[in-house]
Symmetry: C2
Subunit: 331 residues, 2 copies
């Protein structure tokens, strides 16, 4: 518990310290956001605010837990989650980099993004499937039971990983939105994993304890990042940020076998994806009609006249409520 | 733990449900905020937004813990904290009511406010002093020891109670500022009291468990209130809100003997008071010079050009960090 709190604080301070270094550097390198042509018109004023700020929390997430788990038997779970974070974060980084260098808003083409994502997901799902500490059975919230997916675990986890990462990416559309929601998710996952780790002696086998530290570091680093990203944002996280968040969240759920918590704690991400899919499908089926004013869902609220900050607080509060429900389902 | 989470959720839902009832009623009753003449000019646009919204969280705070502690031996601590909350909340309510009815911005005169505050504080301090579960010794964070104040406990606690309530009142100057900071304070106190209550069988003696539920209810209710109070605020909490928050926070610290945590977890409040006192003293001593652009401190940042939302996120993040430090000092 002491170690968890110190980890959160150090990751927070690391992000706070990185901000004033990274943001001016991004500005100098002209890593300004090229605002997505199809977004709300009011977002055009955000042109020029630096992007790729996700580096500010990605570095503490990757480094702080490794340092703070000194003296513990780290096991494989933390490393697996870190590889997942790093893998997806790297795809996001490349995408951002191409966007900025080629000055086009969309970066990699959808297929170019999807192929490395599927490769990473498949490798991780296979590892998890054959790892005796993970295996193919998922924990079922509220029932306390398990659900063994057998070999179907592998495509299911590819879907969960790719889905989470891209949903996180879609949710990243308003100042502080994804950072606030995922901060609460990681704090919740730290508590969930803490409950699992009860009785674990981390000096003999700290597998779960180290995953808990990783979640704590993510919560702390995102808290620090919000100092710069809360409305009015001084920096955007970019794909390097949203992919890092999505990769870590799905990775932690993969190694703790808690993927079934994702529809609860990450409902905001799920709704972003669903609204996008519904909108596009309906648009194509009806040859031009729309269900939402704009997808993903948060832009629908925005175009309905709700102030950006109120949408963010609504999502954050809703996520907090859902995370409390998830905690009920885990105990 | 289950009971705590359910309490948070119910208090949250109660506040969410009360909002759409209370806010239109306040508007009908013309309980609009008469903006403080001496505040920043940019706040004049807030004229007409209803105040006294603190009722939205005060009612759940007073009612939900009493319901949710059914079947527990409640003991005296929760009642003492609730009386503290209700007593100060009532002073705030009267103050708001007079402001609105007499259409003057300041409500009760400072002396008229201070006298009932001192009477309430003195009564509570005396009760605590003679209560065998409380007594005159404060817990000292980080050392694990105690500091017995003897009879000096009584004036000290009067100072802490009156000081906290008025500092909370001063901090309530920007949309969502006091609600966000105190939400984190109450969540932290719930964890602190949970650690104290370990091993307590609440059916035999639930003194501390019930105080924990009270803190949880406050966190939940404030989360719900933020749905309406976050920038751009649709309602202000008024003195009934800030006095309720201050009374509950100081009351919880009084009954758990953790008043020495207040300078850490409620540093934002302390700074509000200190900056106000420094400003007024300096102004009088120099016959018209100012140290801050405007006191309390958050207005100083505001007049320095920092956006309101960024000040609120800075205070919230800072409070979260300090609360983590406080948790380190308690374990």
């Amino acid at each position: 518990m002491q170690r968890l709190i110190v980890t959160v604080i150090i990751a927070f301070l690391a992000a706070i310290a990185l901000g004033p270094v990274v943001i001016p550097w991004l500005k100098r390198m002209k890593f300004g956001q090229t605002i997505y042509d199809l977004g709300p018109k009011s977002h055009l004023k955000k042109q020029g605010i630096p992007t790729m700020g996700g580096i500010i929390f990605a570095l503490p997430i990757l480094i702080v837990p490794v340092i703070m788990s000194y003296g513990y038997q780290r096991g494989r779970l933390m490393w697996l989650a870190l590889i997942c974070t790093l893998g997806f974060g790297a795809v996001g980084f490349v995408d951002d980099f191409i966007k900025v260098k080629l000055k086009r808003s969309l970066g990699l083409t959808p297929i170019q993004k999807l192929i490395p994502q599927i490769i990473i997901s498949l490798a991780l799902a296979l590892w998890a499937y054959f790892d005796p500490q993970i295996g193919s059975a998922l924990r079922v919230p509220f029932s306390g039971g398990e659900w063994n997916l057998g070999w179907f675990f592998i495509p299911a986890m590819v879907f969960v990983l790719v889905g989470t990462v891209n949903s996180a990416n879609l949710l990243d559309g308003l100042d502080g939105l994804l950072a606030s929601c995922s901060l609460i998710d990681f704090a919740t996952m730290a508590l969930v994993v803490m409950a699992l780790a009860v009785g674990e002696d981390p000096r003999q086998d700290g597998s779960l304890t180290c995953v808990m530290l990783l979640c704590g570091a993510a919560a702390g680093a995102l808290m620090g990042f919000l100092r710069f990203n809360a409305y009015p944002a001084g920096v955007f996280m970019g794909d390097v940020g949203s992919f890092t968040i999505g990769g870590l969240l799905a990775g932690v759920c993969l190694v703790t076998r808690f993927s079934l918590l994702l529809p609860i704690i990450a409902l905001a991400m799920v709704l972003s994806s669903l609204s996008d899919i519904i909108q596009v499908t309906y648009f194509k089926a009806t040859h031009g009609k729309r269900i939402f004013r704009m997808a993903p869902l948060h832009h629908h609220f925005e175009l309905g006249g709700m102030p950006e900050t109120r949408i963010v607080s609504m999502y954050t509060i809703g996520t907090a409520l859902l995370c409390l429900v998830a905690l009920l389902g885990v105990n």
